[in-house]
Amino acid sequence: MSEEPILSPFDVIPLSVGQFLDVVNIALRGSPASVYGEVVEVKESSKWVSFTLKDKEEEAILKCVLGVWQYRRIGVRLEDGMEIRVKGNPSISKRFGSFGFWVEEIEPLGEGSLKRAYELLQKQLAMEGLFNRKRALSEFVRSVVVITSRDGVVIQDFKKNLIKRGIKVSLLDTRVEGQSAVPGLLSCIEFVSKTDGRFDVLVVMRGGGSLESMQAFNNEAVVRALFAVPIPTVAAIGHDVNVPLVAMVADREVSTPTAAAIALNQSWDRLSIGLPVLASKIVERYAVSLPKERVERAVERMLTRFGAVLSNFSHHGTLYASRIMNAYSRLFQEVNKLEHALLRCADRLGNAIIRANDSVSRVSRLLTLADPGRNLRLGYSIIFDSGGKVLKSIESVRKGDTLRSKLSDGEVSGTVDEILGER
């Protein structure tokens, strides 16, 4: 039976300090942990944020660190005295040889810490002016994107109260509860930011809740992402005392999904309320401007366009003016809906004038055909006897009579040599 050789620490492969710490850190990285405690000594440099987590029960501390970018992404502002829970990995700094904790997530614990984190962030964002910009919703909203949970009642309330104008509502389903809702909310908001022109407005919705359940809506990264959305935003988030920071940064803040729907419905007001008003204005003003004598003058002006040939038919002008006035009177007597009045007014007055024009044109054509001058130009002539009477038959003509013949451009005269009778 052979004996196992006894190995001393110096018999294993020797490692440099750096190599050894690399091995240790690789091993530690496989041990993610969640640790809670009280924050002390928060320090922020241009690249790093560090703080110490202190145990409240015994004398124990944990040095924590994370990059500034990560701190911003997590979106929770820290201050000494806050109670938090951190998730991350333990690690040993190769440079300083110190043990620490690389933080990946931070969650305030307890109402006091949540409120303090809320106040700190609110102050910071207000100082940057993020709550001052308020863009108007576009008119005639036709495409809405909603970020909320598909399982909540809020989306149903919103849909039920939205005006029926063929509006396309697109839902981006995401969690809305607690700190864990942050990544989903962020990805949805960033998606909307990338779809330029597809949506008219973004609505972020959730029902009311405690400061703890509302954490994602008070998260710095979420608030900043919403501020960066290129289209107008509406926040419909229920709340009590503390208005969620997402609601404060949105262009329009309401507290219920019904109110959000009403805000979008109002984007149609200029058409739904304005159209009847405009129509009635036009009809009323035109009605006031149309005393009978002015209509008659207008018809007369129209008739004179046909020239002197119509002079014998001036009674037609009066007749048509009268018809137009009758149409006009009937119109305004029976109009109930003002928006229809425009159409009727235009149709009836317009048609009356068109009919008058047509009739006058027809009379004009008939007169032209009957004009004797036109027949003379075609080669016909008119024969007068010596007394100047128009000859219509050979019975009144005798041999030797002197007759005068009118042609298109003058007259000729001559003596009757022979009467032939009808051939």
Partner: protein, 66 residues
């Protein structure tokens, strides 16, 4: 109808209404021509006020998460 054209048509209708308000001595024929133009616009815009059911769609999550 695109919403831009709703805006343009409403602007046009407002300018017609403005013309009637501004003109003190409205010419009957010019007024009629404006009324006819306004009537056509009203007819088009009224079509936009008809009740049309809204559409609803859920955008798939995989389109969102990169």
């Amino acid at each position: 109808m695109k919403k831009q054209s709703i805006k343009q048509l409403l602007d046009k209708l407002e300018s017609i209404a403005g013309w009637f308000e501004k003109e003190k001595d409205i010419d009957v024929e010019e007024g009629l021509s404006k009324v006819k133009e306004g009537a056509l616009i009203v007819r088009e815009l009224r079509a936009e006020l008809k009740e049309v059911e809204n559409e609803f769609e859920e955008i798939k999550k995989d389109l969102v998460v990169e």
